[in-house]
């Protein structure tokens, strides 16, 4: 099951020349398995779309290789790669009907009419758009266009489907629906999906694995739970979900916060001296100020979010900590600003960050 569908080997992409040259991709290597839902996650300008365009063939790497099913496709043009793309703008053909759009790829491949009709029919059913077959693209809503774009890219049965922030143009509710829909399509078709997004929630909910990118490099690759609970560095911890960052020192295998309290961490990563530790807001519990072993803190503010409430506190050394609590039924946590409390970190929740 862990056969590799698509692979980038030391891919470098530079735009521009000389002093103005921009390194969009800086020696990126990644292996994406067959049947996997792989997400490239990162802020805009991190190189995730460039990597996608290298796989699609719209850009040629400055150096490095792209492999599809083990074969080097670096020099092949897009129309000779068994890879299809769902574009951010959908890029549907406005002069064709929904059905003609979906059949376009197969038609260009020179497949027989009967096969094109049958596959188009199947794709329409797959994305639940049967009754829209004869419509023109301009007569569809954004969500419907999204489905047609998916069906069009899936119809030629590509080895890899590339999705370039396909949900970013949809409103929140539709986006949530399409997230579920995309996952269903991926499971039903068994096609490898490479999904590009800057939305960490999208990445966490849909992916089998996530590659977090920044400034042309992949910082960490892992399952969503790994990325979330064991971020490799401060950027990953901050970009995916919210996190508290606390200065600390490691001395003789013991971890001591700058605020003075000694705490437990699973893995000190062989570090020594000054480090940063991270802990997710939902992994911090508030206890009585005089509870044994608790970290003394002072409440600064409460922020109400509906399902949960955030409490902002400061430690003895002035560093800030956010605690996320399920909102109490009364809507009032009871403790006032300025009150002294104790904090405890859930076991295994404290991570020592790499650089």
């Amino acid at each position: 099951m862990s056969e590799i569908a698509v692979e980038a080997r030391s891919a470098v992409k530079t735009f521009g020349q000389g002093a103005a040259a921009v390194r969009a991709l800086d020696d990126v290597s990644v292996q994406i398995n067959k049947g996997e839902f792989f997400t490239l996650l990162g802020p805009s300008g991190c190189g995730k779309t460039t990597l996608l365009r290298l796989i699609a063939g719209f850009e040629t790497p400055t150096s490095g290789q792209i492999l599809l099913d083990g074969a080097d496709i670096t020099a092949l043009p897009p129309n000779r790669r068994a890879v299809n793309t769902v574009f951010q703008s959908y890029a549907l053909f406005p002069h064709l009907t929904v059905a003609q759009n979906i059949g376009f790829g197969l038609e260009m491949l020179g497949r027989p009419r009967a096969e094109i009709a049958a596959t188009t029919e199947r794709m329409l059913a797959l994305v639940r758009m049967e009754e829209f077959a004869p419509r023109k693209i301009a007569q569809l809503s954004g969500g419907q266009q999204q489905r047609v774009a998916l069906a069009r890219a899936l119809a030629p049965q590509p080895k890899v489907l590339l999705l370039d922030e396909p949900l970013s143009a949809l409103d929140l509710k539709l986006r949530k629906e399409m997230q579920v829909e995309l996952k269903r399509l991926q499971l039903e078709t068994g096609i490898t999906f490479v999904f590009v997004t800057h939305d960490q929630e999208e990445a966490l909910t849909m992916s089998d694995r996530i590659g977090v990118m920044r400034a042309g490099r992949i910082l960490q690759i892992g399952r969503p739970v790994e990325i979330y609970t064991r971020p490799a560095n401060r950027f990953v911890a901050g970009f995916i979900g919210e996190s508290n960052f606390l200065p600390a020192t490691i001395d003789g295998g013991r971890l001591r916060l700058a605020a003075g309290t000694e705490i437990e961490a699973d893995d000190l990563r062989g570090r020594h001296g000054a480090v940063t530790v991270t802990v997710r807001p939902e992994q911090v519990r508030m206890v009585a100020a005089d509870a044994p072993g608790a970290l003394p803190a002072t409440i600064r503010a409460w922020v109400y979010f509906g399902t949960d409430t955030h409490c902002h506190l400061t430690l003895a050394d002035g560093s800030a900590v956010v605690v996320r609590l399920a909102s109490p039924a009364s809507g009032d946590a009871g403790l006032q600003q300025g009150a002294s409390v104790g904090l405890r970190f859930a076991p295994g929740a404290v991570q020592v960050l790499g650089d």
Binding site: S89, A91, F93, P94, H95, F104, A153
Partner: protein, 306 residues
């Protein structure tokens, strides 16, 4: 049922409609009088008898219309098919179609080039395209004549480059007329094509390329159908004036290679056969109208069924 009382709102709408009509009246009057007045006169003249020294005599006759296709032998008075007329019609249609085709062939890459320039330089390119409009058509046509004549610029350059040894004799031929009309009408093709290509979403090229289309298939299956309105507009703008061209064939075709426009002029001048000229004018109008209707119908079908 009681009659619906007229509300203030209806009254206001009525008043504003009346005002709009009143404001449009001068323009409408000019259009109706200037367009249909002369046309009516031409139509009436086509059914009259030619006068001795030009003009018309007010006697009904169908000779003008018959003269389009048949001609009476001056010696024995027998009727025969007017071969010379048919040659002129055929040349007009042929040259106009060729002009349209060549301006499209040359104009499409040009329009594509301009539409894909950065926004800043695009204005400059468009400006360059419109420069010929600044000079009088007659002067431009003579200029082209200078370029293509036996001892002209084109032949001099080609001989100097060693590409030809004998000068090409392009002057005063259908070829010369074709070159002239292509030059004169090229901007009329480029501008509507540019407008259509400018609206074209270039991202569709990637979509087509991604979906296994070759470059040729992208051109034929994606670009051309989408910019079709521009192609139709450009073709109409070139074909219609080409068919009625007067100055270019007159200057570049010499006396021999007449087109309909010159032939009509001849009837009102030396030919002294105003009814024939009028009938020819009406025929040209009908042909152009039919061509336009055909274009419009094709265009609409394209919009409906892709």
């Amino acid at each position: 049922m009681a009659p619906t009382p007229i509300s203030n709102e209806d009254r206001a709408v009525g008043a504003s409609t009346r005002r709009a009509w009143a404001l449009a009246t001068p323009a409408l009057a000019i259009l109706v009088l200037a367009a249909s007045g002369p046309l009516l006169i031409v139509l009436v003249y086509s059914f009259l008898t030619p006068g001795q020294y030009g003009n018309v005599e007010w006697r009904f006759s169908l000779d003008g219309w018959a003269g389009i296709l048949v001609t009476r032998d001056i010696f024995d008075g027998t009727l025969g098919l007017a071969d010379a007329h048919l040659t002129i019609f055929w040349r007009s249609v042929k040259l106009s179609l060729l002009t349209t085709a060549i301006t499209f062939g040359v104009g499409f890459p040009t329009a594509w080039f301009i539409a894909t320039r950065p926004l800043k330089s695009r204005a400059l390119w468009l400006f360059l395209i419109t420069i010929p409009f600044w000079t009088n058509l007659l002067i431009r046509t003579f200029a082209i004549g200078e370029v293509i004549r036996r001892e002209g610029l084109l032949n001099t350059v080609l001989i100097k480059l060693g590409l030809i040894s004998e000068p090409l004799s392009i002057g005063y031929s259908d070829g010369a007329v074709l070159i002239g009309m292509t030059y004169v009408y090229l901007p009329l093709m480029v501008l509507p094509l540019f407008a259509a290509i400018d609206r074209f979403d270039m991202r569709l090229l990637e979509a087509g390329y991604d979906l296994y289309a070759s470059r040729w298939q992208i051109l034929r299956r994606v670009i051309l159908p989408i910019v079709k309105p521009g192609i139709i507009a450009g073709s109409i703008l070139v074909f219609v004036p080409s068919l009625g061209a007067y100055v270019t064939p007159r200057v570049l075709g010499g006396g021999k290679n007449m087109m309909i426009g010159n032939f009509i002029e001849l009837q009102f001048g030396q030919g002294r056969n105003w009814p024939l000229g009028a009938a020819l004018s009406m025929t040209l109008l009908v042909v152009v109208t039919i061509a336009l209707l055909f274009y419009v119908r094709t265009a609409n079908r394209g919009a409906d069924h892709g």
